[in-house]
């Protein structure tokens, strides 16, 4: 029997499934809760409000510079919880595996999930595996769901209800790395540039700021649609506008070069390790310094501010001093980047 590849029988519920769970999943996702092998994970939460989210990951290719589908599936869901001002604690994961996937690839992905979960200080407590026939999915799809406990002080943070004119907009580092790294990894465009995806869990970085009791008024991770989309959504139907400064946007030279060549605007390219903060003017300096002390925020910058002009709109002062409107992403986006 082929021991190097995943077979349909691995998802049949029989012995091979049993082996897969014991030899692989328990090996890497080892904790008291999952070990009990109950039909549902039984969890203890510190009361209060709970944040609950789910996301499916279908990225192609499953391995890319700076990460893989497993790392992304953990950090992506962790980040979705963290930006709502909650502390992520538990994740579930569902695997849909295409028959024929090398066993070694699956192990690599699972190992990477376990490492990322460790780094983010969350536990993977429930899982499911299905194997589908060749062609019914592309190698490996993962769904993760997660829950976290909401920090009451920041319960309004996801809607930005308390945003005021003069607040500063901060990003924790270089933007557009993920989208361009994936594009490069696909080898469709014949460009060679060493661009590494920024995929990473941000909950501990965010916790640093929240623990300092700073006036953080909004947070969101600019994934698909990029920074522009987050800011456009934020201003929509609101009484304030945003002035962004193109010169202050941190974009790597290599990423800029690829974007220039292919006609992409880095503002719309996906990130997987970035968060946009809106911080009260008086706390912005402290927040920026705090972020810059952290390895995941060393390149943090103030990229814009909340203004009273052009309410409902995001205006970019371009690198040459002109001004233009930044709109929601429309038209073609790169498919399957997360």
């Amino acid at each position: 029997m082929d021991k190097k590849h995943i077979l349909l029988d691995h998802g049949s519920g029989g012995r091979l499934t049993h082996n897969l769970i014991n030899d692989l999943f328990f090996k890497y996702f080892d904790n008291d809760i999952i070990r009990k092998q109950t039909d549902s994970a039984l969890l203890q939460l510190d009361s209060g409000n709970v944040a609950f989210t789910t996301d499916s990951y279908v990225i192609q290719p499953i391995f890319f510079p700076g990460g893989d589908i497993g790392k992304l599936a953990v950090s992506g869901t962790v980040n979705d919880i963290a930006v709502t001002g909650a502390d992520p604690q538990y994740l579930s994961c569902g695997f849909i595996i295409e028959e024929g996937l090398p066993f070694a690839d699956l192990e690599k992905v699972i190992k990477s999930m376990s490492e990322e979960a460790g780094r983010c200080n969350v536990q993977i407590v429930a899982g499911d595996t299905k194997v589908v026939e060749r062609g019914a999915c592309d190698k490996l799809f993962i769904n993760t769901s997660g829950i976290g406990v909401v920090n009451k002080r920041y319960k309004d943070i996801s809607c930005g209800k308390n945003i005021r004119t003069g607040d500063k907009i901060i990003v924790n580092g270089f933007i557009a790395d993920h989208g361009i790294a994936i594009l490069g990894a696909r080898n469709e465009l014949d460009f060679k540039a060493e661009i590494i995806s920024d995929t990473t869990g941000l909950n501990l970085l965010i916790k640093d700021l929240l623990d300092d009791m700073l006036k953080i008024r909004f947070m969101r991770d600019p994934t698909r649609g990029g920074v522009a989309t987050v800011l456009c959504e934020l201003t929509r139907k609101r009484e304030f506008g945003i002035l962004l400064d193109e010169e202050s946007l941190p974009v790597r030279e290599s990423v800029k070069g690829v974007c220039e060549l292919l006609g992409f605007d880095p503002l719309y390219v996906a990130n997987e390790g970035k968060v946009i903060f809106v911080v009260a003017r008086e706390d912005a300096g402290k927040a920026l310094r705090r972020l810059q002390e952290n390895a995941l925020g060393m390149e943090s910058r103030v990229i814009g501010e909340i203004v009273h002009t052009n309410p409902g709109s995001v205006v970019l002062q371009t690198s040459v001093g002109g001004k233009r409107l930044v709109e929601m992403l429309t038209g073609a986006q790169l498919p399957r980047i997360c």
């Binding site: 500063k168 465009l189 002035l243 962004l244 400064d245 010169e247 202050s248 941190p250 030279e253 800029k256 070069g257 220039e260 006609g263 605007d265 912005a284 300096g285 920026l288 310094r289 810059q292 943090s300 910058r301 103030v302 990229i303 814009g304 501010e305 002009t309 052009n310 709109s313 205006v315 970019l316 002062q317 371009t318 690198s319 040459v320 001093g321 002109g322 001004k323 233009r324 409107l325 709109e327 429309t330 038209g331 073609a332």
Partner: protein, 383 residues
């Protein structure tokens, strides 16, 4: 970025903008013919730096936009054939034909592949010898040489499953048609990349016949502003002529090798332009010697009747007669995600550019911006 940043120097940009604003007296309208120029103008926010006396009009320089609906209908008909692969540039996939789009056909099992060059299409033909690969050849003198080179390569290798559906066009007939149509402009910002191939002499007839200045411009903010400055100077002196601003890429004689292979493979024909109708000798079709690669001859297809949306004024926008804002469908029914006309599909289309960088109802004049420092008046790394 080396060789690019130099042309985006903020201090110089603001200086040239200031010079333009101080020398211009009468209202002047210039048309940028190239879609790349349209995008650069909006992307860098150049109108916000210039006085209202300068008006920039977008012309017929977006290849996807000027491609007639009938061509899309033909591609759609071809895509329904068994054993056929359509290889096309990405933008074309979303352009509405009379009843459907290539994107719709793709989702209902037609094999339609996005390529970034005609040579990639030829590669698909090589690796699928049992299937017929049709490349949708659109574009001006910039893409025509690569299509021509691909045909020569296919011919040399004896490849017999590769075809070209040509909608290649040449620029000057449309530039004349605009003026014949009564559009009032004071000069042309001529396309940099097209001119790198053709050279600058193709614009001489525009100058002699219509007494209009033609400045061949690069695509960076400093290029564009310098070209506008040159056109203003020509107008002030009343000395219209062809000038090359984009000297680092364009020579008066053009790219002789590229011109030679275009001439080897293609001949002129009357061609249909969206919004213009048929323009004399404005398109390129394969010469007799290479007719076996011509998709129009090789396949027997029934093409549906071309139906235009009566509300869509893409044609008038392409001719510079109307603005996207004049269109009832603009930003209403016609949006980048649900385009009615081709001008909304292509990144380089006037409607897409206006939609994306919409300046309606905004106060975006940049005259109060300091040459030093940024919009926030601080170093982004610290407060």
């Amino acid at each position: 970025m080396e060789y690019i940043d130099e042309f985006r120097d903020k201090k110089l940009v603001l200086q040239i903008a200031e010079s333009i604003n101080s020398i211009v007296e009468d209202k002047l309208t210039f048309m940028e013919v190239c879609g790349g120029h349209t995008m650069a103008i909006y992307r860098f926010g150049l109108p916000s730096l210039l006085t209202n006396k300068i008006k920039l009009l977008s012309g017929p320089g977006c290849p996807v936009c000027v491609t007639g609906k009938g061509y899309i209908d033909k591609l759609i008909a071809l895509s329904k054939l068994n054993n056929v692969i359509i290889a096309t540039f990405g933008d074309l996939v979303r352009v509405p034909g009379s009843t459907t789009t290539l994107a719709d056909k793709r989702s209902s099992n037609s094999d339609i592949r996005v390529v970034y060059s005609s040579l990639k299409a030829l590669e698909i033909a090589r690796s699928n010898p049992e299937r017929k690969v049709i490349f949708a050849g659109i574009g001006f003198e910039t893409t025509a040489p690569t299509s021509a080179a691909t045909i020569l390569e296919a011919d040399a290798e004896g490849i017999n499953n590769f075809y070209l559906l040509s909608s290649h066009k040449v620029m000057p007939p449309a530039m004349s048609a605009i003026i014949d149509d009564g559009v009032e402009i004071n000069g042309y910002l001529c396309p940099g990349h097209v001119s790198a191939i053709t050279g600058s002499r193709i614009y001489e007839p525009i100058v002699s016949k219509y007494k209009l200045g033609c400045v061949i411009s690069g695509f960076e903010p400093l290029d564009m502003l310098q070209s506008i400055y040159m056109l203003i100077k020509q107008n002030k002196k009343n000395e219209p002529r062809v000038e090359i601003q984009y000297k680092r890429a364009v020579r008066p004689e053009g790219n002789l090798k590229a011109k030679q292979i275009i001439n080897e493979v293609f001949e002129y024909r009357d061609d249909n332009w969206r919004g213009f109708g048929t323009l004399k000798l404005s398109g390129l079709t394969l010469r007799k010697k290479y007719k076996r690669f011509d998709a129009e001859k090789a396949f027997n297809i029934k093409v549906e009747k071309t139906v235009e949306n009566p509300g869509c004024i893409c044609g008038q926008i392409l001719r510079g007669v109307k603005n996207p804002k004049d269109c009832r469908l603009f930003a209403n029914i016609c949006k980048p995600e649900t385009p009615v006309g081709a001008c909304m599909v292509s990144n380089e289309g006037a409607c897409a550019a206006h939609y994306k960088y919409n300046l309606v109802n905004l106060t975006l004049k940049g005259s109060d911006i300091p040459a030093q420092g940024n919009a926030l008046g601080q170093d982004a790394r610290k407060i």
